[in-house]
Symmetry: C2
Subunit: 317 residues, 2 copies
């Protein structure tokens, strides 16, 4: 009798257990919506900016963090964003039933699969493609918990780098430097405006400050991203290989093998005509607006390393 009692209790426990799900007459109905993908609530990290602005360094630093994975540029995502935008016309939407919501669902699924699967899984997934910086409103709408890091750098250093390292960038005609500065201005204006509109979800990071005050900047970035600072982020070059996976197709792969250093600040010195440099405020007004010294052909970058860098800023900088 005692044993039966014990068994009865066991049966009751099995039936009542929270850990137990009992299906009444469960048939073998396979669920149609059985494909699971990451939710759009994922707190994705996007890194962007004009190419040659330190975006690869930024993602290498993030990759050195144990819980973050960016991986290399997909190159495809900005192109996809342009492609999908070209289909969003209201008459087509009304006629095909492909409303903004339907497009958003399809577009967000596509990009999430790419971001999630082109590298290792991690607690915090990250994507670095420079020109995602022209699509902030879309990215924010699709992924409301995502955050964006916009890299800013001196246009003179950027353009010198494109020419010197022969990095082809759509829209930048390396045989026409004035055009390059004008184009930089058009793009950075759009990027900074979108970043401003994204409010607390977008952080501007000046390359010149990141490389001169790495610990402070990286701590600031970690706070923005809501991740714990990790010492490994100061030594990304020691983690090349697994943590920081590099691809030979990335233009900055070779440079990011080096530790953070100041040489890239001044490598553009003596590389532009004085005539061109004197016209910068007209060709590229954003350079000054962002806080760069356009008066000198060999400006100091101490300002970006100063303690009160964040205090006296124009609305764009």
């Amino acid at each position: 009798m005692k044993r039966c009692k014990i068994l009865e209790i066991e049966i009751q426990n099995l039936k009542l257990s929270e850990n137990l799900v009992v299906f009444e007459e469960q048939k073998q109905i396979p669920e149609r919506e059985s494909r699971k993908i990451l939710s759009n609530d994922e707190p994705l990290i996007f890194v962007g900016g004009i190419p040659r602005s330190g975006t690869t360094l930024m993602r290498a630093i993030l990759d050195a963090h144990p819980n973050v994975r960016c991986g290399g540029e997909t190159m495809m995502i900005p192109n996809f964003l342009s492609w999908q935008a070209s289909w969003r016309k209201s008459d087509w939407a009304n006629n095909t039933g492909i409303t903004r919501k339907v497009m958003d669902d399809a577009v967000s699924a596509f990009m999430m699969e790419i971001i999630a699967k082109h590298g290792e899984m991690a607690d915090r997934l990250c994507n670095k493609d420079p020109y995602t910086a022209l699509w902030l409103p879309t990215l924010q709408r699709l992924y409301p918990n995502s955050k964006f890091i916009l890299m800013i750098r001196d246009a003179r250093a950027i353009i010198h780098s494109m020419i010197e390292r022969k990095v082809p960038v759509v829209g930048y005609n390396i045989s026409d430097e004035k055009q390059m500065f004008r184009n930089w201005n058009t793009e950075i204006r759009k990027m900074t405006t979108q970043c401003m509109m994204a409010g607390g979800n977008c952080l501007k990071v000046y390359y010149e400050r990141l490389i001169q005050r790495p610990k402070d900047e990286i701590e600031r970035i970690c706070q923005f991203l809501d991740i714990e600072f990790d010492e490994r982020m100061l030594k990304h070059e020691e983690f090349i290989g697994v943590e920081v996976a590099l691809s030979s197709q990335e233009f900055s792969a070779s440079q990011v093998k080096n530790s953070i250093n100041n040489e890239p600040l001044t490598s553009w010195f003596d590389c532009f005509d004085m005539e061109l440099l004197s016209k910068l405020d007209r060709l590229a007004p954003f350079l000054k607006l962002l806080g760069y010294d356009t008066e000198s052909d060999k400006p100091s970058y101490d300002y970006f390393a100063s303690d009160d860098f964040f205090e006296f800023r124009s609305v764009y900088s």
Copy 2:
């Protein structure tokens, strides 16, 4: 003792029951992969072919079936298939980590969301975009349970329709009829080859037989699709509105409001130069290969309505 035995057996049954899932230490962890989309195992139906081949009629007939929903052309899906194909290069894949599998996952998610959500849900989802007929291997790989209906029609009727109804089709230059026949030939050759390679998953449907022997053809199509024949499929025009949703952007929306009729068979008669018609076997060899009479400028279509239409066929027809 006997009772204990019974209880022991009950416990065993509870634990072994198929109806039971016991979770060990189930915690309340919100799942990251919490977004559910339709599985790629969905038995999708694709309708395609050269434009003006009766693809809209075919989808209207399918839409009249209570369990099937095609809806109108998305126009975007073939364009998306081309776009995604342009990114599949092995060196890029190796360098970005975006392997064929990753691309397949992202591409299939995108299209499934569009197909599933641009119209009402149904047991059998269907998509009609003529040029999906150039992407059969991809569609079969992404959706292994999908089936394809390839519409075939007399090139003379097709080209006459493009010109007469002023339907712009990329690749068909309406001021150069010879070019149009050559282009038709290039496309139909590719489509029929892909259809053949897809074996039992692709069905060729001759428009000329569909409109002359609708009940037989529709029953044959239902068998291919593994759906029950439904009388409403013979009277699609009575279901315009809800079941058969038309959009003003679809070129054949106006014609599909009419019941199935034979007028479209001969509307091209007297519309081409005899000189052009005499060169068809050279311009468009597939026309004859597919079983059309290229000798006459007013051919009979009785052959397509005959009982033994499926018996004496060349390997392409």
